[in-house]
Amino acid sequence: MTFDKDVKYLESHEWARKDGDVIVCGISDYAQDSLGDIVFVELPEVGQSLKKGEAFGVVESVKAASDVYMPVSGEIVEINGVLEETPETVNEDPFGDGWLIKIKASDPAEYDGLMSADDYKTYTEGLEE
């Protein structure tokens, strides 16, 4: 299980990473492993503005559909079009090519408040019990 140190995490298992002036968001390795084979990813329209904690899409595995939530408030500036044809990229490279959306954050302070890799790892260990 990988807990990428260069990103921050949400309790709902998304990760967020600062990349220049946008925030890239995906789901964690822990999340993709728990979900199993991902067969469909539904992403929002570019240009849509959503608040932190709002569902921006759905990740569907063989057995279940899971909402994915905004790590910060802002405007969707790009979606990962590769996932339409190859949703399994989320399983294969959750922190890299399997990213979901890029957000132009409206409040930079929200990013700073997200969980560190160490805290997220401890948090997931608590979920195993």
Binding site: D37, V39, E42, E60, V62
Partner: protein, 376 residues
Amino acid sequence: METPLKHTPLRAWHVEHGAKMVPFAGWEMPIQYAGGALQEHRLVRTSAGIFDISHMGQLELRGPDAPAFLDYLLTSSMSTLEAGNSRYGLICDTDGGVLDDLFVYRLQDKWWIVINAANTESDYQWFRQHASEYEVELANVSDSTAMFAVQGPAAIEIMDDVSGGRVSAIPRFGAADCSIVGVNCLVGRTGYTGEDGVELFLSTAEAQTVWAAILDSEVARRADLSPVGLAARDSLRFEPGFPLYGHEISREVTPVEARLTWACDFDSNFIGRDAIFARKETGPAQRLCTFTLTERGVPRQDCEIFAPAGEAAGSDGRRIGTVVTGMFAPSAEVYAGNAFVETAYSKVGAEFEVDIRGRRKAAVVVKRPLYKPAYK
């Protein structure tokens, strides 16, 4: 109070081998192993997979009236079955509602009946209730019986390797006793995946030995034989169009709606025969269909189906049905499902919309099955 979940004799093995265990029909069962359900599905289509399906129920029937008793209880005539063969059938109520589906094997000295885990107790009681007027002996041997399936193009070669070449001599739907590493097993050339293969029945006490011996055989290693969980079992049975109790069949539908009249022998006076025949004559209001989505999305059980909206479609956008199975079909590579819809919408080419969490996705009825069984 909740009843504790039952365990198969291989529970510890599954957990050790990375299985995710889930509750299913009162049992704790592996839904998938570490490689994931899609990989397991593809392995069965291209090589071979092994399934622990010891949750399924088995009844043993003996006695001179057994053929007549089964002809009365089941939709398909079993008295015409020859020893060493098996046949699919349904148990229906007097109104034609489906109580369960099953496989019956006629052996030299007895009948071996395989039923769904969720219905084992109710089926057994149904059989018992009706047995009093017949000279038959009935036993529920589910708890002492383990059941495995080995399925896929390499399955027969693997089973030959562990049975001294006995299995390839069994014809499709045939059954025979075979010794596997010294353990007596009933082997049926049957299965529920659309691939060639076998189903094995043996004593729970010997389950671990036989399971390990099959996986350890040289041919099995070469074929990369691996365990397969319930998620892939579901997609493997869905693609070739095999019904699953609680989805395509239930108390709420007759074999007519479920397109299973081929498993009804109307010359035989079975329970539910008149109701089913009448439904067939009048035509059903709803019928099972297989559909694929023409846009991306995953339909799931209980998604509602609507007629296409708008005047061009010549309809009013009303609700016309419900999804009973839905998934990404790994071999057909389509987002697909089975649904009961108004009969007019159940024909190949009919278009409708599936409501997936509030979003309407366009779908079209397709020819069944999505995957043609390999042994046909």
